[in-house]
């Protein structure tokens, strides 16, 4: 087990290092630099050169990179060129927004997908199952940039049940916060519901053919008990694995709803930073997102060993 852990940590370090180099090269590949955004397009070349020097951007790239890396090891991710906020501060204020979005959307997805799959898998290919299975393809065809405007038009503008935009931190006012986060979370939940439902359904169908289910049935257990206690756990592997990938993809993929609902998350901060050539912000966020991705894969792998004790790590 400890050997396994060491390998995982090594893997994390390698991934983080390669990604930081890649991000660094990518942002410096972009035409223009932060001075264009700070000074405007019409300033003189001399002023530009002075500012570049002040920001340390006139140094060779490898020098800039090693300086940045050295600072990262001291826990300093640098400061935005544009608004002088530290990258750690941007992450600390932005990340909770995304974490909350992901949690609420995944809770909704599980709350819809799991009971639905438990019901339809009992009678596969019957009308209810067919309707549910076909309509989940519809959910897969509803990307956030289509769902979000419709949700706003119907539930915010039309019915007035939810605010169209706005963000209140959770610790300031939990009720308002949740109220504001519901529409954006629903907007990104459609695809997750479809994937989770379909995976769990087909796994359940195959589990229900197993001998131990027949055994449980012949003992006279109620079908609810069989579904939840006997069938659900051995059928939840693909569901878990897909959740891992999905959550990984959502970490930086929430920018569309952040933009539409004016939420101060890191997804849109990242997009904006790329556009403004705010190199350090891009590098910092990309690094943290990649590390989070690897850690989530690790956690999912670990949950596997809990759900199925037969899965042994070396």
């Amino acid at each position: 087990m400890s050997k396994y852990l060491v390998r995982r940590v090594l893997q994390l370090v390698v991934v983080a290092f390669v990604i930081s180099v890649l991000t660094f090269m990518l942002v410096h590949l972009l035409p223009g630099d932060p001075t264009t955004v700070i000074l405007g397009p019409n300033d003189t070349a001399a002023n530009r050169a002075i500012l570049l020097k002040q920001l340390g951007l006139n140094l060779p790239l490898w020098h800039q990179y090693t300086t940045w890396l050295g600072a990262v090891f001291h826990g300093n991710l640098g400061t935005s060129y544009l608004n002088h906020q530290s990258v750690t501060h941007i992450l600390a204020t932005g990340a909770p927004v995304d974490i909350e979005l992901i949690i609420i959307s995944q809770v909704i997805a599980f709350a819809v997908a799991i009971p639905l799959a438990l019901v339809t898998s009992r009678k596969p290919n019957k009308p209810l199952d067919n309707v549910a299975t076909t309509s989940t393809f519809g959910l897969l065809a509803l990307p956030p940039f289509v769902v979000a405007p419709i949700l706003v038009a119907v539930f915010a503008v039309g019915l007035g049940w939810f605010p169209a935009t706005g963000y209140t931190p959770f610790n300031q006012n939990p009720a308002t916060n949740i109220h504001e986060m519901i529409l954006p979370s629903v907007a990104i939940t459609a695809g997750s519901i479809a994937v989770y439902y379909r995976l769990l359904r087909s796994d359940l169908i195959s589990t229900l053919q197993q001998d131990f289910i027949t055994m449980a049935r012949s003992k006279g257990l109620s079908s609810t008990r069989i579904m939840w206690r006997h069938a659900f756990r051995p059928s939840s592997f693909s569901l878990l694995a897909a959740a891992g990938i999905n959550i990984g993809a959502l970490i930086a993929g929430t920018f569309v709803v952040e933009l539409l609902f004016v939420l101060p998350g890191i997804g849109y901060a990242l997009v904006q930073a790329v556009e403004q050539r705010d190199y350090l912000v891009v590098q910092g966020i990309a690094l943290v997102v990649a590390i989070a991705y690897v850690i989530i894969q690790f956690v999912i792998d670990f949950i596997f060993t809990i759900v199925d004790p037969r899965v042994v790590r070396e």
Binding site: A141, P149, A241, I245, Q297, F298
Partner: protein
């Protein structure tokens, strides 16, 4: 044949993968699971007929393709012609789907817009399949250091926040249809690689492959004649899912103003135009038509992929 069944099982193959590169079982399994969706689940059922919905989906995809190809020949209005005497009109005989806030004909814009989605989706996947698929096929069969290196490389790329790369490259390279297609196509390579590698790996140790080897078949022959035919169902299904995925990503890029340059219509930027500046309240048709066309296309592609998978995945255990 319990052994065969076990090897075919995606779960077992995921564990096999986990052994080769520890700690990747979860990712592998999810990708495999999403693409093949645990064949054993549906196998116990009798084969379903393809059904009305399947044919409806096929017809819709065909109609969209035909309209996109024939757009120049069809009696459509110029999609960029601004007719200021007919702004924000509802559907009528003159404009079947209505007009937008600049008086442009929405039918023409939706049809011309489909070209971007179709090219990006299908050509993009062809790129990913050609490179990632080939690499995955070989890597899964051969194993060894090459496999470990490619596998680790693809894991790293998947951990990278793709949007940064896409924005950076699009900005650097320019927003033409060709560039967007190449960028998104190349972006699917690691995903294609992993799915096809996993599938190829699950066949690499099977008896028929060992038999072919014993008879002295060359590696090329084994990959092409023994492994490829078995991997094709996964390839087709996953490719269709990916086509749908890329079309969504193009839409998202358009939403950020990073897809093809305006005024070239694409479904993404049409939807975007239809939701910006309160347009949804003044003229909902601007958004409804492209959104509906895209919804039906994505739904159709996903449904076709799923039905084909059910149809053509023959498990030996059942024979």
């Amino acid at each position: 044949m319990p052994d065969d069944r076990e090897l075919l099982d995606t779960r077992a193959s995921a564990q096999l993968l986990g052994d080769r590169f520890p700690g990747m079982a979860a990712t592998e399994e999810a990708i495999m699971a999403v693409s093949t969706e645990h064949l054993d689940g549906d196998d116990v059922l009798a084969r379903k007929p393809l059904g009305f919905l399947f044919w409806f989906a096929v017809v819709w995809v065909a109609v969209v393709f035909l309209a996109a190809i024939l757009a120049n020949v069809l009696p459509l209005q110029n999609p960029n012609f601004q007719n200021y005497s007919s702004l924000n009109q509802a559907p009528s005989t003159a404009h079947w789907l209505g007009t937008d806030d600049l008086g442009r004909d929405l039918l023409a814009r939706v049809i011309f817009g489909s070209r971007v989605s179709l090219v990006v989706g299908f050509v993009g996947v062809a790129i990913g399949l050609a490179i990632g698929g080939t690499a995955g096929l070989i890597s899964g069969y051969k194993g060894g250091k090459l496999d470990i290196a490619l596998n680790a490389g693809s894991f790293i790329i998947l951990a990278f926040p793709a949007i940064v790369a896409v924005i950076a490259i699009v900005t650097f390279w320019g927003q033409s249809l060709l560039h967007i297609t190449i960028i998104l196509g190349v972006g699917t390579i690691p995903l294609m690689f992993r799915v096809i590698r996993a599938s190829s790996l699950s066949f690499a140790q099977r008896d028929f492959v060992v038999a072919a080897k014993t008879m002295g078949a060359t590696d090329t022959r084994i990959v092409l004649r023994e492994i490829l035919p078995n991997v094709i169902p996964v390839m087709v299904t996953f490719s269709l899912i990916t086509v749908a995925g890329i079309i969504v990503i193009e839409g998202t890029l358009a939403f950020l103003g990073l897809s093809v340059n305006l005024p070239t219509p694409s479904w993404g930027n049409l939807i975007n135009e239809g939701t910006a500046n309160n347009a949804l309240a003044t003229d909902p048709y601007i958004m409804i038509w492209p959104a509906l066309a895209m919804f039906l296309l994505l739904w159709s592609i996903n449904l076709i992929g799923d039905r084909l998978r059910q149809r053509f995945d023959i498990r030996e255990g059942l024979l």
